[in-house]
Amino acid sequence: MPTMTMIEALRDAMDVKLTQDPSVVVFGEDVGYFGGVFRCTAGLQEKHGQTRVFDTPINESAIAGMAIGMAAHGMRPCVEVQFADYVFPAYDQLTQEASRIRYRSNGQFTCPMVVRMPTGGGIFGGQTHSQSPEAVFTHVSGLKTVIPSTPYDAKGLLIAAIEDPDPVIFLEPKRLYNGPFDGNHKGKSVGWGSHPAGQVPEGHYVVPIGKADVRREGHDLTILAYGTMVYVAEAAVAQAGIDAEIIDLRSLVPLDLETIQASVEKTGRCVVVHEATRTSGFGAELISEVQEACFWHLQSPIQRVTGWDAPYPHATEWDYFPGPDRLARALIKAMED
């Protein structure tokens, strides 16, 4: 089985769908001739032609709006927003239009489209290249929001997203593009080549949207994580020496509450972690769901570790990033209470 980075896995997913389905088109800023600033679409225009893979003006609202028109017509656009931080001009089109085309027309028109965007920090990107805006999409009915943490999942989820009959917000943790990252920024970076999840099958396969993945089985505590935080959780568990169960949510909407509930009922303790800012973050939603479903199984208050409620700073990035030390402290606290 070939080894792929997350970038290669995403590219392979688009290649598979472009080859298989003539209604699939890929476009966005710099994605055509050049192949994207993160190289996710490199070579796709050369292979599939510029009617299938092309550059757009710097206008995210137009990218989303064109995709909606195409999707309503019957095509399957898979578009890129260069950084998740740049998606906000498209917010009206995505949250008021794409999300509701099916609903408001009672199924006469639908909107099968994917909006890919690199999310999260850890690359010294400062406040406009580091944000994690998942909660502004999970709050919107009619959208699906997914976020893979491995090359294998990235390919399978992206194929599932392109084939999905509804609009999917596809968040790509950019710090994981070239290798797993556990928050130990002073350590040597590792690539996907040596990681089992870097093994990516050729051709078509799907990772279903709405299914979480139990990344580590454990008995003492449940960690709910997604994206880069999955690896931070692994490091924190090793650091704290706690037998925690780590759940990689993979899909935020729809949420795999069944897997979450089974785990928390088993462990009786729960810690939620995300890189996004805390207030009204997706962690608040997770905590609410867990306490509603598992209150009588909980042995301690649910802990929450997140980015601080400040813009993502440049020079002090690692004080902002919720790394393994902070998470380990929360794990210990959850065990002590």
């Binding site: 209604s23 088109v25 009617t51 757009t56 003006p57 206008n59 609202s61 137009a62 709006g65 064109m66 995709a67 909606i68 028109g69 195409m70 999707a71 309503a72 017509h73 019957g74 095509m75 001009p89 009206d92 089109q93 008021q96 239009e97 085309i101 099916r102 609903y103 408001r104 027309s105 009672n106 199924g107 006469q108 028109f109 639908t110 009915s141 009619g142 699906k144 009959p165 509804d166 709405g210 909407v253 729809p254 949420l255 509450l257 069944e258």
Partner: protein, 411 residues
């Protein structure tokens, strides 16, 4: 003397207690502007974008090169146009009353603008798609959309194809080339460009038409649509209905110092025309030309339909608070129904008696269907509703959290 910077706040020509004044508008002369070649470039479109294309003169005669373009058509097509407009006006009349009686929460008329959508739609083919605003019910009427679902949508009852999911007037009919209306202004304009790109990419031979009001040309999606239409050259017609008023806001607040909205399109490299929107023949002729241009692959075109919103913005609006009550009557380009009627009579193809009869027939037909549809429920006398349907169609397949919420609702 030292000059200082001062802000400019555009003002309408007249406020409520003043005399209507449209003298600033140069409406030109019927028949004066020619028909451009189909492959015209934006740079050569100055006279079409800055002038005003008119076909009917003050006596109702069709004159000039645009008249010649549609000269061979049977008078029955014009009578059909007249009947479309009469039917539209009858619907508006009946629904305004129904809203006043509390039978529906909201309604919005298109009085004075009937010629634009009615004549445009009759030139389209099945498969073409409009991306309308809420004031283009005319497109549905002229697409022979049945009156039952039309009224059903306005009453949100069992005749409503949208099952009460949308505010009244936010129609949708894929089959009739009418894209689901948003209610957020401007968003549909760039979507029309995307749809037209899909027309070209799939080679289906169809075209798209985007619609926007003068007020919403201020929105970012107007720019997005103009730019992307210019960049990718899809078969799209970008219609701008300039009816002088955006609720209470004078059109000058959207146009600034630009002379016409059509001229703005030329800045994007899109050829544009400015047309008397109250002239059914002018609308039919220019639409025919623009649709042929788009379909034959000559790229996008923009059309400013110059008209006047004779009625209130909606049933929630009282225009006497911000403009003279008799301003519509002073509009220099008249009323579209009266003008087409005069033209047909001058051709010997119509008469006042036939007109009176046609008016009565339209009202009778509309009233009969309205009564049937009202029997399934109105706001004052609601029919049975099914709250569980609010969860249908959020997604193709209902995810677990919506299933749980539906259970929680207890239905």
């Amino acid at each position: 003397m030292k000059k200082t910077a001062k802000l400019h706040f555009p003002q309408p020509p007249a406020r409520p207690d003043e005399t209507p004044d449209f003298s600033a508008h140069d409406i030109g002369v019927a028949g004066a502007i020619g028909v451009p070649p189909l492959d015209i470039q934006a740079k050569d479109a100055r006279e079409y974008a800055n002038g005003l294309i008119r076909v009917m003169d003050d006596d109702g005669n069709a004159v000039g090169p645009w008249a010649d373009l549609i000269k061979g058509r049977d008078a029955s097509t014009l009578r059909q146009g007249l009947r479309d407009m009469l039917r539209m006006r009858a619907i508006d009349k009946r629904m305004l009353n129904a809203q006043r009686q509390g039978k529906t929460s909201f309604y919005l008329q298109c009085t004075g603008e009937e010629a634009i959508g009615c004549a445009f739609q009759r030139q389209l083919q099945t498969g073409d798609m409009n991306f309308p605003t809420y004031r283009q019910q005319t497109l549905l009427v002229a697409a022979d959309y049945p009156l039952e679902p039309l009224f059903g949508q306005l009453y949100s009852n069992s005749y409503d194809p949208m099952q009460g999911k949308q505010l009244p007037i936010m129609h949708s009919s894929r089959k009739h080339g009418f894209f689901t209306i948003s209610g957020n202004l401007g968003t549909q304009y760039i979507q029309a460009v995307g749809w037209a790109m899909a027309n070209a990419l799939t080679g289906d031979g169809n075209i798209a038409a985007g619609w926007i009001g003068d007020g919403a040309t201020a929105s970012n999606d107007f720019h997005s649509a103009m730019l992307c239409a210019s960049v990718y050259q899809p078969p799209v017609i970008l219609n701008i209905v300039n009816n002088q008023w955006a609720i209470s806001t004078y059109t000058g607040v959207a146009s600034g110092k630009s002379r016409t909205y059509a001229a703005r399109a030329r800045g994007y490299g899109i050829p544009a025309l400015r047309v008397d929107g109250n002239d059914y023949l002018a609308v039919a002729a220019v639409s025919t030309w623009a649709i042929q241009r788009a379909r034959e692959g000559f790229g996008p075109v923009a059309i400013e339909w110059f008209t006047y919103r004779a009625a209130a913005h909606s049933t929630s609006d009282d225009p006497s608070a911000y403009r003279p009550k008799n301003e519509a009557a002073a509009w220099p380009l008249g009323d579209p129904i009266e003008r087409l009627k005069t033209h047909l009579i001058s051709l010997g193809e119509w008469s006042q008696e036939r007109h009176t009869q046609a008016e009565a027939e339209a009202l009778d037909e509309v009233t009969a269907v309205q009564k049937t549809v009202e029997s399934a429920g109105t706001l004052v006398n609601p029919g049975p509703t099914s709250p569980a349907t609010m969860f249908d169609g959020v997604y193709a397949e209902m995810p677990p959290h919506l299933r749980r919420q539906r259970q929680e609702m207890g239905v």
